[in-house]
């Protein structure tokens, strides 16, 4: 029997039982859709968690200057003969790492006094570069964060552009967002200066997580309130004026951090610089392993899903094949070999599974768009392996489901059926 005959026999068999074909194909389609949805939801969730963690600074390595921020238990003393990080070190480091990292960001931490109306506030100033704004995601910001232009502007003019924490802004006004565009005067390092607010940062929880490492570096750390509320003014970092409290190395991905740390260490020790390294990775590892475990539960779920499809389809096809015993026996009597009667059975399963792929895929798109995404917020994601792997798995499931009836067909004794001795 030629493959074309086998295919045409299969298609005829399918066409003769449209209801059955629709049922089986729908089972495949629904199974496929739910497997895709589970995988896309879990994978999307894992990516979202990882992305959020990265945005929270998990891919940040902070190299801090104990000399500048003063010794305290967490950091300890710098070894004898080592010096603090300077702006030149930051530049050299940025050159060495180039585009291997998202940014090499210098940071200075200072305490200043700001006055507005009748209110005077002591608070922290963070001088840094635009790359620091990576952590400030849209929705967290009214106005904008520091941009490259602000650096030239702060060099040439008396008025320094700055972003302000919402909590600090609240000390001066009831409507923090309205401070964008306003000017306030402040005293920094004994010098008076005027600051123009270009952006207001809210969401202190996210920021706090990101800036936890700075708690220890802030001269204001003894003020309990400052550890909890973000009372910062963000100014452009000026190498000639600002003294480095440290440098933040923003790795591309939290998985890059491991490899970067030894390079940083050898870079600094070659320059006789002795920073304290703060790496926010440990707790991240824990969260990620939780996400991983969630993923494993997901695998379990979709395997169960495929098993349900297998059992359902196997029962339908088994009943179907029982109905066709007389026909199979007759075909054997008319000269069909065992493989020739088995092939159409297996092919039918595979064809119906293939027919279920497109509707199943569409269904999964609907489920993910209308059901999952609005509730979970994160973007579903299908890894490339799943894109071609799941259809393959479905076809294998179809094959396995039809193996049971195929076996019955193969074992059928035509003489027994045709002489009516079966039953």
């Amino acid at each position: 029997m030629s493959p074309a005959t086998a295919i045409s026999l299969t298609l005829t068999a399918i066409a003769r039982h449209p209801m059955r074909a629709v049922l089986v194909s729908s089972t495949f389609a629904i199974g496929f859709a739910s497997v895709l949805s589970i995988i896309a939801t879990i994978e999307g969730g894992q990516r979202a968690i990882k992305h959020d963690l990265d945005a929270l600074g998990t891919d940040l390595i902070a190299c801090l200057n104990p000399i500048r921020v003063g010794p305290f238990p967490e950091i300890g003393e710098v070894e004898e003969g080592l010096r603090a990080i300077e702006a030149g070190d930051v530049r050299a480091l940025a050159e060495m790492l180039g585009s291997e990292v998202d940014g090499v960001i210098p940071l200075s931490v200072d305490l200043v006094v700001t006055r507005r109306g009748g209110v005077a506030m002591t608070h922290t100033v963070l001088a840094t570069e635009p790359a620091f704004g990576e952590v400030v995601r849209s929705g967290m910001l009214a106005g904008r964060f520091l941009e490259a232009d602000d650096f030239t502007r702060s060099n040439s003019s008396e008025v320094v552009p700055a972003a302000i924490d919402e909590a600090l802004a609240r000390r001066f006004t009831d409507e923090p967002a309205k401070m964008v565009g306003e000017r306030i005067s402040t005293v920094r390092g004994g010098k008076a200066m005027e600051v123009e607010i270009i952006g207001v940062l809210n969401d202190p929880i996210t920021l706090r997580k990101h800036l936890q490492l700075l708690d220890g570096t802030s001269k204001a750390r003894t003020i309990a309130a400052r550890r909890l509320e973000f009372l910062n003014l963000y100014l452009p970092f000026r190498p000639e004026v600002d003294r480095c409290a440290g440098v933040l190395v923003d790795a591309r991905d939290s998985s890059d951090v491991e490899a970067l740390v030894p390079r940083l260490k050898s870079f600094f020790s070659a320059r006789a610089v002795g920073p304290y390294y703060h790496i926010q990775k440990l707790w991240v590892g824990q969260v990620l392993s939780m996400a991983d475990r969630l993923g494993k539960v997901g695998h379990f779920l979709w395997i169960v899903d495929l098993l349900v499809v297998l059992v359902l389809v196997a029962s339908i096809s088994l009943l179907a094949v029982d109905e066709s015993f007389a026909e199979v026996a007759l075909r054997r009597a008319e000269g069909a070999t065992v493989p020739e009667v088995v092939a159409p059975v297996l092919l039918e399963g595979i064809f119906l599974a293939l027919a279920g792929l497109l509707p199943g895929w569409l269904l999964s798109v609907v489920i993910l768009r209308e059901g999952v995404q609005p509730v979970l917020v994160w973007e579903p994601y299908l890894p490339p392996l799943a894109i071609w792997g799941t259809p393959l798995l479905l076809v294998v499931t179809a094959f396995l489901a039809y193996l049971v009836p195929a076996r019955r067909v193969a074992r059928l004794q035509p003489a027994v059926v045709l002489s009516g001795h079966r039953d």
Binding site: M1, T5, L9, R16, A326, E327, L330, R331, R332, A333, E334, G335, A336, T337, V338, E340, Q413, P414, A415, L418, S419, G420
Partner: protein
Amino acid sequence: MLVEMKGIVREFGVGDAKVVACDHLDLTVETGEFIAIVGDSGSGKSTLLQILGCLDSPDRGSYLFAGRNVDGFSDRELARIRNEEIGFVFQSFHLLGDRNALENVRLSLDYRRGDPPPDSAEDLLDRVGLSKRIHHLPSQLSGGERQRVAIARALIKSPRLLLCDEPTGNLDSTSSESLLDLLEELRTERRITVVLVSHDSAVADRSDRILTLVDGRWAS
């Protein structure tokens, strides 16, 4: 000699329930012969016919078909013999209910490996007098017409051996007569060897030779 069987034994069941359907049967059939096998119900007629038709294999004994020893044949070789050399007409027609006369006649062509058959299905249906019924479903045909479709289905293989298991069992005497006339004509026309099972002596009387089975053995 087309068929040469020696010591064919076919048993069913075990222990007390054991039935010896064929008990050391010998049988030779010459090419072109018309043999009728008669016997009581349960005497083993159908079982013997199925072994002859390579649908079933004996537990013991040897079977030469056209000089070839069928015992050692693979599933594939047996299928080929059934497909090209042996036609089967069953007592209960065994037509596919959801396919019309023409499609039923063509059934074996799906599996044909050798040359295409000499007759077309349409010609054969015409030959058995059903040219106006080729697109009818079995349910739209009378018993005699269905049996003639079954004969056309057996003939499309242009078989050397035609096996008929009580072909007239479900027909009234007129239809049964005309069916036998048809078989007779085809046999002489195409030089086909026919082995027919019946317990109707009127049917058996038209054969060259009548063999009687009693409990799986030939009556002497």
